[in-house]
């Protein structure tokens, strides 16, 4: 490999390669044209940040997601359910969920519970600290009591889907769909659903991961 690398570098000096054409760019979804904005084939921080921002904006304009007593400071409680990564990339879906949680919290209209989750509590201390009741070490007046933890009103679930299309031998279009749903846990109805497509075009000579 090393010899080959050295020889390759030497030859590179002689051969002008069109490397620029192998980069990945966003595709303008309105026109279908490749933009000049460079990106990566996978999903990066900017993709998550933009998608989260776009989704939270539409959540905040949705009247069904406004607590009836919002003017008195009441907020809805959201539990984060599964966000399924159905792509070819190893993605930490918590990253997307976290961005959305921060934006929702900052909006002043939602709070997230870490005491209730699909696969158990995200933070198990809420339950564990109540086991301090019998500890002689702990000031019992400070031990958190039962019947205090707030149950969630909404569940946030979602899926990230990927579709690849070969455009020519050397180019491929990679479509991602970030889909989220806010389900009202009272009645099981989806009060809000959002989808953000992200389209990229890049090197088709190899796989996109």
């Amino acid at each position: 490999m090393k010899l080959k690398t050295a020889a390759g570098i030497a030859l590179s000096a002689l051969v002008l390669t069109g490397c620029a054409t192998n980069k990945t760019y966003y595709v303008d979804q309105a026109t279908g044209q490749t933009t000049s904005q460079e990106t990566v084939a996978g999903l990066n921080y900017r993709d998550f940040a933009n998608a989260a921002n776009e989704m939270v904006q539409t959540m905040l304009t949705n009247p069904r997601l406004q607590h009836p007593n919002a003017d008195k400071g009441a907020v809805y409680i959201v539990a984060v359910s599964d966000i399924i990564n159905d792509t070819t990339q190893r993605i930490d879906t918590d990253q997307l969920a976290k961005k959305i949680r921060i934006d929702l919290l900052n909006s002043g209209r939602f709070m997230t519970t870490t005491a209730v989750g699909l696969h158990g509590a995200e933070d198990q201390l809420t339950e564990k600290v109540r086991q301090l009741k019998n500890s002689s070490l702990i000031n019992q007046k400070t031990v958190k009591g039962n019947n205090k933890v707030i149950a969630p009103d909404f569940s946030l679930s979602g899926k990230i889907i990927q579709r690849n299309f070969q455009i020519s031998g050397s180019k491929q279009e990679i479509n991602y769909y970030l889909q989220l749903t806010m389900t009202n846990l009272e009645n099981g109805l989806a009060y809000w659903e959002g989808e953000v497509p992200i389209v990229k075009k890049g090197d088709g000579r190899s796989v996109s991961w």
């Binding site: 030859l11 159905d86 070969q166 190899s206 796989v207």
Partner: protein, 470 residues
């Protein structure tokens, strides 16, 4: 006065040394792969793993393997030891190297091209077959499944799907290109006449060697039905929503159509009921799938044609070509018997490998013939200068003429499948014709579904058995 005989006797040892120094390509490859195969089939799994890891050239600083082919070997063998994390790490490295090979720039390809033109195909980096990538991702997906990591298994099965799509596209392009080239050559009769003559000559000799491509037929779209089926099984057993049952249905439909396997057909019917909501997965009776990865797939052997040839004249001492041919290896057992039923063939890896080899062969052949032409012309020119130089040239040509025997050697010959009702006590006994002692498997009686995965390389090596309870 120049004495040729004296010169030859003096130079002969040098020539022999040169021939060894230049690789003796075939001898070295045969020794390495022969040794490796012997270790696997005799049950020396630890020694085989050690060899594969050594050959994979793991960089001490980065911890990453640098040899693609041996990373695949290491990954496959480590699975047999249930060392899933280590196996996945080698497959990850292999995928990284595959990508580098796919996206190699013009300069890198030129180096490969020049090297292989002067010597032989082994001078170039190993370029993966499509089935290499598909199997690497399939094995990784299985690793994650057996570790209980459903999220990462899903990603790998999606990768399998994408690789199968890419393979179908690539083969379609390749076939179209070959047709176009044939048409062009038919239009220009003078072009490459010498090469054409040699190609047809070589094909005749190959036919006399019993290599008949007409019987080698790909599965539809060059798909590997094993991977397609297992993709379906994963999405059915780990469905997170109805669309996953739809995915399972599509994969089973494809696998059943390609193979006619009755379990695939039964699973297709089940996935259909599930996707339509006619049946709930919770109501499906407890079931065990037995997946049997059997024997060893084909290996490459050299097939040498010491040419007669087109170019042969008194000024040329040796010319010839060396080509790879596929040689089938054996099953470990004809089938596994479990709970009154037997496993049946789902997919023949032999067929998958042969189909891809057949599609690639015209390129291997034309490269080798072109190489022989270049080397022979050089030899003749050397001989025109002096007979000794000519002899040296002939020895060098003989030594460097060698077929590329590299391929993933630890893949199975076939994949078989059985599906049975889950025994209440969770105990299964697996037997096979020629198996020394029956295999006893314990399943979690509380689990609704179990997948028993058996990998048997040969009757001499103890089968590796893994259980996944869902």
């Amino acid at each position: 006065m120049f004495n040729t005989k004296q010169a030859v006797s003096r130079l002969l040892p040098v020539c022999v040394a040169v021939s060894f120094m230049t690789g003796c390509t075939t001898v070295m490859q045969n020794q390495t792969y022969g040794d490796y195969e012997q270790k696997i089939t005799s049950g020396e799994l630890d020694a085989a793993v050690e060899m594969a890891i050594n050959e994979a050239e793991v960089d001490a600083k980065t911890g990453e393997a640098e040899d693609l082919l041996w990373s695949l070997e290491a990954g496959a063998l480590l699975r047999m030891k249930s060392s899933y994390k280590q196996s996945t790490a080698f497959f990850d490295d292999a995928e990284f190297l595959m990508k580098a090979e796919d996206t190699e720039d013009v300069a890198g390809k030129a180096v490969d091209g020049i090297g292989s033109m002067l010597l032989n195909d082994t001078a170039a980096d190993y370029e993966q077959a499509h089935y290499d990538g598909i199997m690497a991702n399939s094995y990784k997906a299985l690793n994650f499944m057996f570790e209980g990591d459903v999220a990462n298994a899903r990603v790998e099965w999606n990768r399998v799907d994408d690789r199968q799509r890419r393979a179908a596209n690539d083969f379609a392009d390749k076939i179209a290109k070959q047709k176009e080239e044939l048409q062009k050559e038919a239009e220009d009769k003078n072009k490459a006449e010498q090469t054409q003559k040699s190609v047809s000559e070589a094909e005749k000799i190959m036919a006399s060697q019993g290599v008949d491509f007409s019987e080698w037929k790909a599965y539809e779209d060059y798909v590997n039905p094993f991977s397609t089926y297992m993709h379906g099984l994963f999405f059915m057993l780990n469905a997170q929503g109805r669309s996953d049952f739809g995915k399972a249905y599509e994969s089973f439909q494809r696998a059943a159509a390609m193979t006619g396997n009755k379990i695939a057909k039964a699973d297709l019917a089940l996935a259909d009921s599930l996707r339509k909501g006619r049946k709930s997965i919770k109501k499906v009776k407890p079931t065990v799938w037995v997946v049997f990865e059997n024997g060893l797939g084909p290996k490459r052997e050299e097939f040498r044609i010491d040419l007669p040839v087109f170019l042969l004249s008194n000024n040329v001492k040796y010319t010839g070509i060396a080509l790879p041919k596929l040689v089938e290896r054996d099953q470990a057992y004809p089938a596994l018997n479990v709970a009154g039923t037997s496993t049946e063939v789902l997919s023949e890896m032999d067929r998958v490998v042969k189909a891809e080899f057949k599609a690639e062969f015209p390129y291997i052949l034309s490269r080798e013939v072109a190489r022989a032409v270049v080397k022979t012309i050089a030899q003749k020119q050397l001989n025109d200068q002096s007979q000794v130089a000519g002899i040296l040239g002939a020895v060098a040509q003989m030594a460097t003429t060698g077929a590329d025997l590299r391929m993933w050697n630890s893949l199975p010959k076939d994949f078989q499948l059985a599906r049975i009702s889950k025994p209440k006590d969770g105990k299964l006994t697996i037997t096979a014709e020629g198996m020394v002692a029956p295999l006893t498997v314990e399943l979690d009686p509380k689990a609704q579904f179990s997948v028993v995965y058996v990998r048997a390389v040969s009757p001499q090596a103890a089968p590796a058995v893994d259980v996944l309870d869902i």
